[in-house]
Structures are given as C-alpha cells and as structure tokens.
C-alpha cells in the first residue's frame, strides 16, 4: 500500500495516488478480488454510468454497474465461485492507468482522476467466435478516497467508458 507518511494524513501526492491505482489494477488483473474488495470503505460505490452527466451517487438512470457493498460482494462471488457461461473460459485482463491527477482534499475526500485502458481477451479454443479476440475498453476514471482504519480506501470508483451508450459486448470481467 501507498501508506502516507505520518506527517501527511489528509491528502496524497500524485505518486502515492498512482501507486494506489496501480495496486488496484494488479489485484484486478491477478483476480485477487477478495483483496480488491478490501480496498473499499464501507458504504462505497463502484459505478459505471451510462449517462455520464448523472449526479454522483444518485441512481436515477440505468448504469452498466451500480454496485454498493452487497452487490460488489455478489459480483466477486459470482466470478470466483459459480459456473457462468459468460466467463467460461474466463477473461484475462490488463488494466493500464495513466494521466493521474489529484484534487485538493475537501471534507476528508481526495478525488483522483485517471485514464484507464482495459485490454481483455478470452482464449480457450481461440478458433471459436467470441474467443481469441482482444478487446479494448477506454474510460475516464474518478476515485474518491477517504481515510478508513488508518488506510486510504475507495469511497467511490466511477468509470465512464467511451462506448458506454453504444453497443457494448460481454462486460462480465472486472473493469
């Protein structure tokens, strides 16, 4: 973890914020999803809106993902512990994070902006349709981070995909 120094518990610098995002990317790519769940503060939201202008945290329009605490645990349980055709064979992913910026802290919340490129492929019998083709998902990401139990945790992760309101393929892997 990018634990801040004892003298600075109110905000992160860009390097520390990037380190946090890189660690999240690694957990997702290595399917260490129980550890990924641990990055979130209680009452956190993991959100992929379709309407990018929707107010943060409100639920007044359709989302691709709108996961509170229970829904997030359901998602991880479904991926790791149930038989699901849409992930057989499972996706391999590569999360690349760039353009990290940190907004000054307000009310204990540090807002981190980044660009995220997720590259995904399912192999198995690559001769079959749907398998063996590499897909790219690009999006603008916002992480709201808060201090919780002595660590930085995610209060909200919002990922706005460029293709959010076009036809999107199977998105059952972790974005």
């Amino acid at each position: 973890m990018s634990a801040p120094t004892a003298g600075d518990l109110t905000t992160l610098d860009v390097a520390a914020a990037a380190a946090f995002l890189h660690r999240e990317a690694r957990l997702l790519d290595e399917r260490r999803l129980d550890e990924w769940l641990g990055l979130f503060a209680p009452d956190a939201l993991y959100w992929l809106p379709i309407n990018a202008d929707a107010e943060p945290g409100t639920h007044r329009d359709t989302s691709l993902i709108f996961d509170g605490d229970v829904r997030r645990r359901e998602r991880v349980y479904r991926l790791l512990s149930t038989p699901l055709p849409s992930q057989n064979p499972p996706s391999r992913t590569l999360h690349a994070v760039s353009n990290v910026e940190v907004e000054p802290a307000a009310d204990g919340v540090v807002r981190v902006y980044s660009n995220q490129l997720v590259v995904e492929v399912r192999t198995g019998d690559h001769t079959q349709r749907g398998l063996g083709t590499q897909n790219i998902f690009a999006g603008h990401c916002t992480h709201d981070l808060v201090r919780h139990e002595g660590e930085w945790r995610i209060r909200m992760k919002k990922l706005v995909l460029l293709t959010r309101d076009a036809a999107v393929p199977n998105l059952t892997f972790m974005l």
Partner: protein
Amino acid sequence: MTSPSRPVAEIDAENLVLQGPKTFRVHGSVYTDEAVFREEMQRIYSSTWVFVAHESQLPHPGDYKTSHIGLQPVIVSRSEDGAVHVLFNRCVHRAAVVCRMDKGTANYFRCPYHGWVYGNDGRLTGISQRGGGYDDDFDAPEGLKRAARVESYRGLVFASLNPDVPPLTEHLGNARHWIDRQFDRSPEGSIDLRYAPHVSQYEGNWKFQAENTVDGYHGDHVHESFWMVQEQFGRESGTHGAYTQSSVRDIKKMRRQGQVMGFEGGHGLWNTPFDPAALDGLLAGPHADYYQTLLDRHGRDELLVMLSNINVYVFPNLGVLHGQLRVIRPMTVERTEVALYPFALSGAPDALNEERLAGYERFFGPSSFGSPDDVEIFALNQEGLQAGAVDWLILERGISREKVVDDVDRTSHVTDETPQRQFYRRWLRAMGASAVPDTVPEPLRAQARVAGAQA
C-alpha cells in the same frame, strides 16, 4: 447482389421444418443460410408489424428517435400536431441519411449532402438552389418515404411496410392481455421509458433471442450462477430481483410451476406464479398504498396474475418482460443487436421504480448477473451450427402434453418448447410454406437435406 424484391422464393421453407404428431425439428440452415435471412427480411420484417418505439420516448412535438424495420433505418418523429410519423432515414434525392443522432428534438431534418430539408412530419420543405437548377415542373417527391402503416397499442408504436397488414390488435391476439397485465402494474396504466437502454450485439442469429425470451427450459443450467448468488445473498440484497430468501433447490422447484403459451401470431408467453401468501406482506410493506390501489382496481385474483413473472415475446422483434422492453434487431444472418429498455411504471412511487431498476440491473445488461450468460449461449449455438453434418435442431419438448386453448393458441408445462413451435408455425406461414405436413415422409427429409446442402 440480389434485388430487394423477388417474386420467387429462393428457398423452400416448408422443407426446413419437420412436423409430425411427435416430431418438430428445425433445419440448421434456418439460422445460417443467407438466403433464408434475406427471405425473412422480405417476408417477415417487410410484411408484418414491427415494433419501432414507445410513445414515452417522444413525449413532445419535435421529439424523435431512430429505429429499424428489419435492416431499414427509420426515424420515428412527433410533429407539431402531435402525430407520430415513421419515416425512412434516407434523403429522397441521393440517399444519405438525414439524421445521425439516436434521439433528440428537431424542427426539421436537413440532408448534409445537398441541403434538402424535411419537416419533422417528413414533408419536403426546401430544395437548396432550386431556382434555375430544376425545371418549374420538376416532379419533386412529397418528402421522406413513410411506412405504409403505423398503429400503436398502449403506447407501443408498430410500423409495417405492408399496406394490407391486418389491424395491430388482430396481430397481437391474446398476447396483448399479458402486455396489459404488465402495464397495469402502473397506477396510471402506462409505462415510461425514461431510462437509458442496455445495448449489446452477439454473433448469432436473431431467432435465438426470440426463442429464448420465452424459454422455460434453460434457466436451471444457464442461470445456475444467478441462483447461487441469490441463495448466498438474497436476504441481504433486499427486494432486488425474484426468489429472495430461497435456496437454489427451491428456486428450481418454483420455476417448474406455471405455464408457457404459444399464440396464433407466433408470440409467446413464459409465466411462473406469484405466491398468494406474499400479497399480505406487500399490502403491509413500504409500498402498501400502491398495492392497495392495484387491489381495489383489479381485484385479488387478477392482481395475483399481474404480479406473477410474465415474459412476453411479440413476433418478430419485441419482448415485454421483467420491467423492460426488449428490441431485437437482425443485422446479418449471424449478427444481432438487442436493446433492453428498462421502464418505469407511471404514477408508481419513485422508491418502487428505483427498486425495480436496481432489480432489473442485477440480472439484465452486459455487466449483470443474468443476461450475459444467455447472450454467450447464442454465440455457442451459432458456433455449433458450423457442424452442418448434423441436420436438425429438436424442438419436441412437451409436444404430446400441450393443449389448444381458444381454438388458436397453445399452452403447456412451463419448461416445454410450445412457444418455440408456435413461433415456427407462424414463421412457416410468413415464409410462404404452402402446406404444413402432418407426417414426415422420408423424401421430405431428403429434400430438406438437399436444401441444407445448398445453403
């Protein structure tokens, strides 16, 4: 290229479906043959009613949305006088589309190529640099070409390219009562498509989505993952989705109660019951007033039916189910787009509509816990069909126990392939099959194999 209108069928549809007292098989080429697909676009999508929009998507004059009738792009537009027009999205001059947005509000549509202008009622209102360029007696078209017929049922707008198509209510037949039961869950009796749709495309034939919308046989297998999530988290997850507080075993048991129906027009129904004991809980719950209103209006017996799980498929391109309109758009013989429009119940409490949306999102959409597994299967189907050495798909489940009701519809056990068979009976009529054989002579099997080989 084949011309768009051909008087002679390229295919012999009746050889593509085997029917007998205990036989119902569909030839694989029905899903893979480009000639069959072209024929479907002509004989089905250009001949019967096709769903194009819901009126709540065009609430005000000038509102429009784009849509399709089969492969053909249209604009559904509301003009100043409130009328709804279904217009082909093609400049009558040199064919460019005149509208590039999926929805919006516009006083006019202007072709970007040479600047011809059309009102939102489709009428041609301006030709750029007309003077001198065109003779005074130039035979100008009236405007954007319009669908031959437009009718709506409870806000569902359908269009047809066939001027002689029977009235829409006749087409919907008894399937419309099961649409009513879903829309009557609104205290105002109407739905509102205020939410963004989930749109996906899959590499498979459009009929897989049509068949699966009312398939009661696949759930135990394709959706086992969801039942496991529900067993593990159903209590914590609250009212989102069906089957709260149930084990996987109980869910499977519940899903074996109820019925399927196949309607004369090729439409289908999948219907599992609502537990009458749960009604008291709703009448004492957070939305008590809402449920009491429905109870007073419809009576207990009808309300219990209204609250059951109702999936309706409307031939050829619409589903009405689980708080959504599902629109199927064939693109090629092996590529299909499906748009899911979750809808709000007009006049219902905001909190209830939010719960419904959250429940919908849990099972439906490309990142959800249900529908991506269905879509994956459609691609598996199309992949398997490459093994053309196998002739037939078998749709015989429950063929001996289904019953005819109201002379024209059929009903059977909830896991039976009754709606799918009724779909193909309608499909055969539309595709011009002259007679429906009631036995399966060997020569016909041989012919069908030849038809398949030519594919």
